[in-house]
């Protein structure tokens, strides 16, 4: 009892930063429950796959990598930015990084765990995993991948853990509520931290060493992932640009994931004073730069083979540019790269608010036109098939330019709204980037496998196409839910915004606001 009374309390600032540990309403539990249900459903699907084999998936002799490997590349890509961005910002002394570094590093940790599982799921016989150790060839990029991902997971875990030690000590000393195991956990992980000069010196040394070493490791991980494809003599894969292409794509999607996480935590735990608009603006700049680099690499990646249209690659490129994958490909390029860049740049132009003065360029007329189009082209044909059967197919009457014109109209109508709400613009752009990033991984894996050098022949007709089954979609949804569960679980157990690092703000109020470490209200 006396110990309880002696326990010092958190300051008001610390309580706000620890809101993710203490706050938890019905909404939070409903979210966790929903994610848990999806995750368990994914486990059921995996049990089905284990029992009946890969025959329950769409994977066959030709398309032997499908959604699972797309998930793997996506998760490893998202994992890229956390440690890398945090390390670069630490080394360059960017003070505004402080409130968001741990969010980024936790993304790395969670996505690496789920990404690392995906190749195991892709294996029909996971019990043969040990053969990788027994018979693995050191010359194979797949073994390099295992080594590099293990090394990166260890390094990024250390990089996440070490700067957290002072915060864990704070929780050890002041976290009075909650079960006893939590306090034991904080005691164990805080390593007896007393904030002595010797301890602080060693901690800062570790952070500096890890920040230096994690950068080449992070770059090498996604380069090695790209080599799994690039070292293979297949159309669309055998490319020297794959290393930097994958790294830029990973940084692009990872930065987008950080922006989404920033917005989610800011909204959920009222962290407006710590995660300010300046953070979104700076992350937006980063996303624009990475998006431009990624767009350039995409252009370079496709132009070289498309210029030659060599026999071996013609089928693959035709399938991607104008064949069965064309809609997905162009949708991915437009909504995964171009649209996010436009969303991040155009709303900043000074004359954008003036667009509201034009009556037609207001959201309501544009939305009405879009709704009319949706009814005429989708709802009516679906609701009354007799119209279509009688030859009254409205889709044939609507000129093809109407859809892109509507998209441009909607975009222009919402530009002033996005100008007034830059955080919304950044979040929408980030979500689009992440959706586009997953689709791009799918487009990297599948079309190449469907277009081998030796045409698919003497195989059942169904083997020449790839259609993921409910098992693959369920496991994919389960993996995404697992990623979010790990991330939310982390934020419920550990402070997602560093307390001691944000305490070490620049001396003057102006500098703090300017650096974006804290908002005006918090200083």
């Amino acid at each position: 009892m006396s110990t309880r009374q002696a326990t010092p309390r958190f300051s008001e600032r610390e309580e706000r930063l620890l809101a993710s540990l203490t706050a938890g309403g019905a909404g939070t539990y409903a979210l966790i429950g929903g994610l848990l249900a999806v995750f368990l459903w994914g486990l059921v699907a995996y049990a089905t796959q284990l029992r009946h084999g890969l025959g329950v998936t769409g994977l066959r002799d030709h398309v032997l990598w499908g959604v699972y490997i797309a998930n793997f590349v996506f998760f490893i890509g998202v994992s890229h930015v956390g440690a890398l961005m945090s390390a670069i910002l630490r080394l360059t002394g960017a003070e505004w990084r402080r409130p968001i570094t741990r969010m980024a590093e936790a993304i790395t940790f969670a996505s690496l765990l789920m990404g690392g599982l995906m190749p195991l799921v892709d294996m029909g016989r996971p019990d043969r995993l040990l053969n990788l150790v027994r018979y693995g060839r050191l010359q194979s990029p797949i073994l390099w991948d295992v080594l590099s991902i293990t090394t990166y997971l260890t390094g990024s875990t250390l990089f996440l853990y070490v700067p957290m030690i002072p915060d864990l000590a704070l929780l050890r000393d002041r976290y009075a509520g909650g079960p006893a195991w939590r306090r034991r956990l904080y005691t164990l992980l805080s390593l007896g931290w007393q904030d002595t000069p010797a301890q602080r010196h060693r901690l800062e040394l570790i952070v500096r060493v890890m920040a230096v070493i994690i950068i080449p490791i992070a770059v090498s991980v996604h380069t090695v992932v790209s080599w799994i494809f690039g070292m293979t003599l297949r159309a669309g894969w055998n490319s020297t640009i794959f290393g930097p292409y994958f790294v830029s794509g990973a940084l692009f999607s990872g930065a987008a994931a950080v922006i989404t996480a920033m917005a989610a935590f800011r909204w959920a735990y009222r962290l407006e004073d710590y995660i300010t608009e300046a953070h979104f603006r700076r992350m937006g700049y980063l996303l624009i730069a990475l998006g431009l680099a990624y767009g350039y690499f995409t252009f370079a990646e496709y132009l070289t083979p498309a210029y030659k249209m060599a026999t071996a690659e013609r089928g693959y490129l035709a399938a991607v540019f104008s064949g069965p994958f064309a809609r997905l490909f162009w949708f991915t390029q437009l909504t995964g790269i171009l649209l996010p860049l436009l969303l991040l740049t155009l709303p900043r132009i000074a004359w954008v608010p003036r667009l509201h003065r034009v009556p037609l360029l207001r959201p309501r007329p544009a939305l009405a036109a879009a709704a009319t189009y949706a009814v005429a082209s989708v709802v009516l044909p679906a609701a009354s098939p007799s119209l279509t059967m009688a030859g009254l197919n409205l889709n044939e009457w609507i000129p093809p330019w109407v859809l892109p014109a509507l998209a441009v109209w909607l975009f222009l109508a919402f530009l002033p709204v996005l100008h007034a709400r830059p955080i919304t613009a950044a979040v929408v752009a980030s979500l689009l980037v992440n959706v586009g990033a997953w689709l791009k991984r799918y487009l990297i894996v599948v079309p190449t496998l469907l277009n081998p050098f030796l045409p698919i022949q003497r195989a059942p007709a169904g083997w020449a196409v790839y259609q993921p089954t409910w098992v693959e979609w369920s496991i994919t949804a389960g993996a995404l839910a697992g990623f979010l569960l790990i991330y939310i679980g982390f934020s419920k157990l550990f402070p997602i915004v560093p307390i001691w690092e944000t305490r070490e703000a620049p001396e003057s109020r102006e500098a703090a606001v300017q650096e974006g470490i804290v908002g005006v209200a918090a200083v």
């Binding site: 070490v162 007896g192 931290w193 301890q199």
Partner: protein, 190 residues
Amino acid sequence: MLRRSRSGRASTGLRRFCLGALGVLLFALPAWAGEPARVTLRLAAGPDGAQWITARVTDAEGAPVPEASVVFKLRTAFGWLTLEERRTDASGRARTRLPAGTRATEIRAESGDVEGVGAILSVGARAPESPRVRPGRDVLGTLSPQPGFISPRPVPELVALLALVLGGIWATYGYVAWLLWQIRSSGSRS
């Protein structure tokens, strides 16, 4: 004299005719001996372990057809690949060697012209014979200008490079773990 010279010219003409007829006969002998009517195929391992395909060409009466043209073909993913064209010997046999490591399901031999006869031998998808001596860099060096990374055995330089890079990183992790231990020790002391 005149009669003798006429008879002499006649005998010379007869001799030329006979010689010509003999030449034609000799030239046409294979065809006259019998047209290919049936081809049988046999696959057997030679003393050196190589696979040999033997085609036997017989006529309608079952007699061997010598000097008949036989074209050996192999089914590949691209279609029928012509291996070799041979002529049968006196026993009506022609044979060819199957390339090492061939994974063929069907072998075909054709004899005769366009309307000739042929036979297909289904051999099943045989696993290629594993090489008796694993090829090293000396062998691979003749196959590829840069055999290093595709060598069946780890290249020492590659192993050294990987060990250096990974060893350096994990040694740094070890250093970090030691520093963490120092933090823990100084915390417990104070």
